[in-house]
């Protein structure tokens, strides 16, 4: 069985026939070739697969592609404004060295943007609490927290 799926991904309309058991992350990576969204644990713990659906951060390894019917999806490839190379949160991660191996980074950035949308001026505790669904295997949390603080400030003046 296949199901008709219509949604918007990074501003572009997408129509496809998918098998119901296709995970959203697999659809994005394998069908759309948007490989910036990573698969880390594949058990909804690490958050490397975090994307935004209608502006809310979700783990794309823990949902079916068909559950995204009619929604507006943004992946790490779609967060920068057309005239910019990078979103202010990405720039903050680069400037504050908020990454070591980089594997968790797309999910961290997507989670951080969602956090700042809910808490525009987060303190350190809110950042650590807000990113509890994103794991960094390198344990580079200290600089990630600094980057999110800076990213939040930069997003305000955007």
């Amino acid at each position: 069985m296949s199901v008709r799926l219509s949604m918007t991904v990074n501003g572009k309309p997408v129509n496809a026939d998918v098998a119901p058991r296709t995970l959203l992350v697999d659809f994005l990576r394998d069908e759309m070739r948007l490989t910036g969204t990573h698969i880390g644990c594949d058990t909804a713990q690490c958050g490397a697969c975090t994307i935004h659906i209608d502006g809310r951060a979700v783990k794309s390894c823990n949902m079916l592609a068909v559950q995204a019917e009619g929604s507006n999806i943004t992946t790490i490839e779609g967060i920068a404004a057309p005239e910019d190379n990078m979103h202010p949160m990405q720039t903050a991660f680069r400037e504050h060295h908020g990454l070591q191996c980089g594997y968790c980074t797309p999910g961290m950035v997507m989670g951080a943007i969602d956090l700042v949308q809910r808490h525009p001026d987060p303190d350190e505790a809110q950042i650590r609490e807000g990113l509890e669904g994103n794991l960094c295997r390198c344990t580079g949390y200290h600089n990630i927290v600094k980057a999110v603080r800076a990213g939040a400030t930069a997003m305000k003046s955007r």
Binding site: M1, V3, A19, P20, R21, L23, D42, T43, A44, Q45, G47, T50, I53, R56, A57, V58, K59, N62, M63, L64, V66, Q67, E69, G111, D114, L115, G130, E132, G133, N134
Partner: protein, 266 residues
Amino acid sequence: MYEFNYQRASSVADAAKKLGTGEDARLLAGGQTLIAAMKLRLANPTDLIDLSGIAELRGIKADKDGITVGAITTHAEVAASKDIQQHIPALADLAESIGDPMVRNMGTIGGSIANNDPAADYPAALVGLGATVKTNQRQITADDFFTGMFMTALEPGEIIESIHFPKPKRAAYMKFSNPASRYAIVGTFVADTGNGVRVAVTGAGACVFRVLQMEKTLSAKFAPDAVANIDVAADDLNADMHASAEYRAHLVSVMAKRAVEKAVAG
């Protein structure tokens, strides 16, 4: 995961009809437990009936007695609800403590209580507040709804529509979380309902349960020291690599004391 048939339901009646046609059909709400279980092949339904498009199942309404929460309302929506923050702040706090932000954006209250994981948070809120579950067939009190480990009073074809929480005088939930999964090793919900006190415990046993001795003591005097010395028997409690039954029993009293402290402080 194994293949299955997928259908979107347009109404509760439509979902009930579709649920009856599959050999082993299951309802899909947010899927934060079900999809993970299907990936592990712990659950292998033949059919999934997606409830997410049914508008009547979503939303939060306040009335003079309390709050009604639609079955597919997400944890994030409960946590952010101004009505719930105002009338039952303990419920908003509990929702904010479930899983992580991404899980809260997808996971639903109806899905959580239908699954009745022994370490889930919502069962403590429903039993602690004396909530009522409305299904497409009847109303079920929280005390009757949760019947055992991963078991509920729901009959085949029965679908949760909403949960009604009466407004308490004061209430609080305290949990000792597993630091990795955030599931409750022990979570204690204490509510001064205005008509007696209710104490509901999740994570400690096979299923949420009430501690009647604490309820009686707190009804006489709603103060932290009233429960601090009440011991809960460890006999039927869970024991695993995270905590022994004796440790969980101890935590029930500690969390109850802290919950009363928080409820009194407001």
